[in-house]
Symmetry: C2
Subunit: 686 residues, 2 copies
Amino acid sequence: MPTNPDWVKALKPATDGAALLKKERAKSDLPVEKLTVFLFGEEFLETRRNILKVLQSEKIFDKSANYYSGRIQRFEAALARAKRLRMLAVEHDWSLEDHNVAVDLLAEPIPYMLHGTMFLLTLFNQASEKQAAKYFMKAMNYEIIGCYAQTELGHGSNVKGLETTATWNPDDKTFTIHSPTLTASKWWIGTLGRTANYAVVMAQLIVNGENHGPHPFVVQIRDMKTHQPLEGVHIGDVGPKVGYNTMDNGFMLFNNYKVPHEAMLARYSRVDPETNTYIKPPSAALVYGTMTWVRSTIVWQAGGVLARGVTIAIRYCAVRQQFQDKDSESPDGSETQVLDYTMVSYRLLTLLAATFALHFSGKLMMEMYQKGQRNLSDKISEKEKEEILSMMADLHATSCGLKSLASTTAADGLEQARRACGGHGYSSFSGIGPLFADYLPNVTWEGDNYMLTQQVANYLLKTARSVRMGFPPVNDTATIFRYFYDRAEMGCAFDILGSDADIVAAFAWRSSFLAFNLLDKRDSEKMAWNDLLVDMYRLSKAHSQYMIVKNFYDTLNSEETKKSLDEKTLEIMWKLFRLYSLNTLESEASEFYASGAVTVKQAMLTRQSAVMKLLKEIRPHAVRLVDAWDFPDWQLDSALGRYDGKVYEDMFRRASELNPLNEITVDPYPSSTTIFKSTGNLKSKL
Amino acid sequence: MPTNPDWVKALKPATDGAALLKKERAKSDLPVEKLTVFLFGEEFLETRRNILKVLQSEKIFDKSANYYSGRIQRFEAALARAKRLRMLAVEHDWSLEDHNVAVDLLAEPIPYMLHGTMFLLTLFNQASEKQAAKYFMKAMNYEIIGCYAQTELGHGSNVKGLETTATWNPDDKTFTIHSPTLTASKWWIGTLGRTANYAVVMAQLIVNGENHGPHPFVVQIRDMKTHQPLEGVHIGDVGPKVGYNTMDNGFMLFNNYKVPHEAMLARYSRVDPETNTYIKPPSAALVYGTMTWVRSTIVWQAGGVLARGVTIAIRYCAVRQQFQDKDSESPDGSETQVLDYTMVSYRLLTLLAATFALHFSGKLMMEMYQKGQRNLSDKISEKEKEEILSMMADLHATSCGLKSLASTTAADGLEQARRACGGHGYSSFSGIGPLFADYLPNVTWEGDNYMLTQQVANYLLKTARSVRMGFPPVNDTATIFRYFYDRAEMGCAFDILGSDADIVAAFAWRSSFLAFNLLDKRDSEKMAWNDLLVDMYRLSKAHSQYMIVKNFYDTLNSEETKKSLDEKTLEIMWKLFRLYSLNTLESEASEFYASGAVTVKQAMLTRQSAVMKLLKEIRPHAVRLVDAWDFPDWQLDSALGRYDGKVYEDMFRRASELNPLNEITVDPYPSSTTIFKSTGNLKSKL
């Protein structure tokens, strides 16, 4: 790499970023560490610190080449890191959660990911005892590397439409797995493209000519020694993507590929090899469980992911100075910190409030889910059981809506944070662009964010229908039933500027208004389902926003919170609650008017006085509030978001000292077709 | 590259995309070619066809490796293409516009770009005759390759804050160009990183200790033979970015670098070497011109860029079938085309309407600008001149607001279109992700989209102040003055569902309401400028939306349009006008209520009846409407957006036949630190 001459090395930036951040931190007395402990718990923080130390001590996890490397180099590095992570997990006796913490710090998808999650999980849940004995421990020990092959080139959302078939052969007691068409090709399958030698394959089970729908089969797909695909299996990587390029998402086709009877995962349903008949699962599985958990995790993570972008943007906008405020008559002529412009703080502090809102909702929902699961396993009456199941169904619907809202909020919020960084936000060194690119699949997978809202609305419609039919609430834990039921008592003019409880009530009111409005359209006006999809999307959003506002409110009101946080911190958290709620209300104002929840005057005052005032009150604490998220610099890998504020030094170092493009000298003239005059030791780098 | 076995080659997709698109095109009788000619003119289309033929006939422009290549390979290919384009321009006698058409078809930024635009333009506008003789023809002939070095590491938006200095030395009649700090480093300079050997450098001119502000200097920066940076100049590429990676954006620092007197571009201002004094420009330059033109171009291009994404998404969503509509009882059990779901058509057809809206506004504004310029050069009275200048100032303010709105609409719209493609939208092969990434700088450069709205609001405030003070309108061509002035006559209850003219009037009403509201806050309540930035952003958006709606309306009402388009096409264009306008109105409903322009009831009906009905009426024409944009497949380079609908075949071909990652075989076990088992001929590819 060409080195910087001495006169360049001697230069200092005109802006002292370190001093500016120091001043920022001095402006506020928010006890950062206490808030951090409140957010994550001491145990988790301790674990994270220890794992970080381990990772930073090994050269293989050095990130300095990441932003410059092409696809193949990045995949190569990621696989090497995945291998090392696995060895470290064994060495340090890491749990699955510990391993996930390490991947989170590494901040890149690793090629083993689907082995460690969906492949193992499916074996665990769906394998018979015999199958578990054969595969599970081998998979746990990484003697076989698996993936989960469900989505196809032609079908993603509609699982029932999968085209891959598994036909039972009574003669030799085998299944034939087959791809009848090109669109039957498995597609997007993580870990499959280059890495896995086993797969759980979802295929239409056909017995005696009858189709019993998609079922899982565990199948060897590559040779254990040569790693070549087996005869009759065609596999490859699906190619480059917007992000996630350290992962080998794969495709796979089968040509009448025979697998033994034991390939079909037989814990619940199976084919009897004696009678050649299909045996149904004893009861439709209680699917709420895992899915509620997965979606609540996405909500919880959405807060954290967004917080990474917001941390970077807020620190940089506190360091970046540009222009003087038009009315300012600063005596020293120094420029204004960009974060002081209300157009910037309006964008970034509202996102900051959203990070906490999402974090609390995800956390609360996971706790509720776990509590429900625990209570179910106790010895309880049928009536109690029914109540808990009703609450769990409620929670499931809400988790679908929140998954949609939270991942959209995080994805769009990251891009907003990137733009708030101005020109330098476009550099990979900002760290936000690459994070956004890797995060984007979240708006599509685990239920596309638009599609999913149909499920939410469907559940809300059913609940509204029950309420209208006069059924009493099952119990107080079924939130949706409760707030639909209570709407008559609420009234519909809320003091959103004077009472926090009224803010929550206004959100409940608007959501139930939309729900009953939709019910009229569907049941009375008999409108077509397809003509109501936009209303359903809006209803799901309204319900989810209500839940987030309610969860934020409940969290701050809880005894645990009051015990954990000092008064000053709690006061700022309440301000963040109001900022999130009132800003959301204002941006959805027309639905709040239409429902009669607020007046036009109230909504105007909301932004013009309440929100703008909150921004000013929160502004001095902005840097400390992002500090509370406690992201190590190593995780953020951002020149703009450094804890120490040395933004410009880092931008320059990454451009001039690490950038391999600077090793080449070109021939610039169009009359010559030669491009490179010299390439230095570039080849060795590629 | 591993080849697909014969059994794979024999597979067909279950969905016949070609048949589906054929059916789509048969559903509508919209005369596509006529609409295309109306949009672009026959001459332009002829040119584009010819240039496309030239490009497609040369292997150097083959795009098949683009999506797989790393930064250095992409830069290398782009420079090779830039060179060849230049030679072709000479060979075929291409104008600058022709050259731009070629780059647009190539669809990647080329490393010569800033030479061909800003470097040449600045020499043309600001060089003295002597300087022009020395540099201009050389630059035109690419004997010197230049760039335009303004932005610095520490300053982008605030040009007055630049830190690079150019100090006049009376003794030897030279300037010393110097970077006093690290943040003085030039940054983001296109074409500088590896390619240019000359630069126009903007630096603070210091004469006799007095700073006269930023001035341009033309400076040699690299050796003409070795291409190494000259002594005292330090240059490099700034590193990888979200997109735009075929361009070598560079940094540059100067260490007391001496340049001759003639380096300062001296057409308007100069340093007299005899008296050692600074000579000011005779009058503040009429800067409106170029900037209005550049911004109108961004508006016009925004329509086209967005249309590329919308073309891809609409074609793919017409081919993709998923689920059955919940109420449907389709006898053949076939799945529904995704585009038929209202949640999808709502998102994509409103974007489709926006493409036309932006296109017409950009076109109309460029025409108005050119007309104004032409009329100015005629022999006209002082009064007429004043009128034209007033109109041009108006146009300038509007072009700022429209640049902000249009580029945000296009950038966000591209991402919306990508998400509407579901999972496959995430593949690079969709073509939308890479386009989005390359387009993003538009929201920041030529005036950051948030910052710029202050300028717009400032102009609108001044105009509102004049109106309030009772000044009569200068003339009818100054739109802003006119609609502010006329607001009293408008009344404030508009029949937006019954009258197209009323739709336009409602937008005018809301914008002028916001303007006078802001004027009250600033002038009567004496609110701080900084506390009004969010209001200014909203006002600018409101004014810009009004202008787009008005321009769309005026375009469809013009005699030329009525002559060019048949009745049926015109009818569909009016529907697109209504869809764009009413959907915009509904999404900004709270401002329309607050201003009294519409009632809550009207706004609810707008979406629930008018917009949903328009979607159904436009839906059959969707594919033909995107066909009218006439993008060659070669330009889109998208598996999903193919004209022939062969989506799945192309996805599979790009993954299995072109993807270099599939050349490697890995060792998958964590116990081994080896990654690659074999690399085939991969190295030769890197």
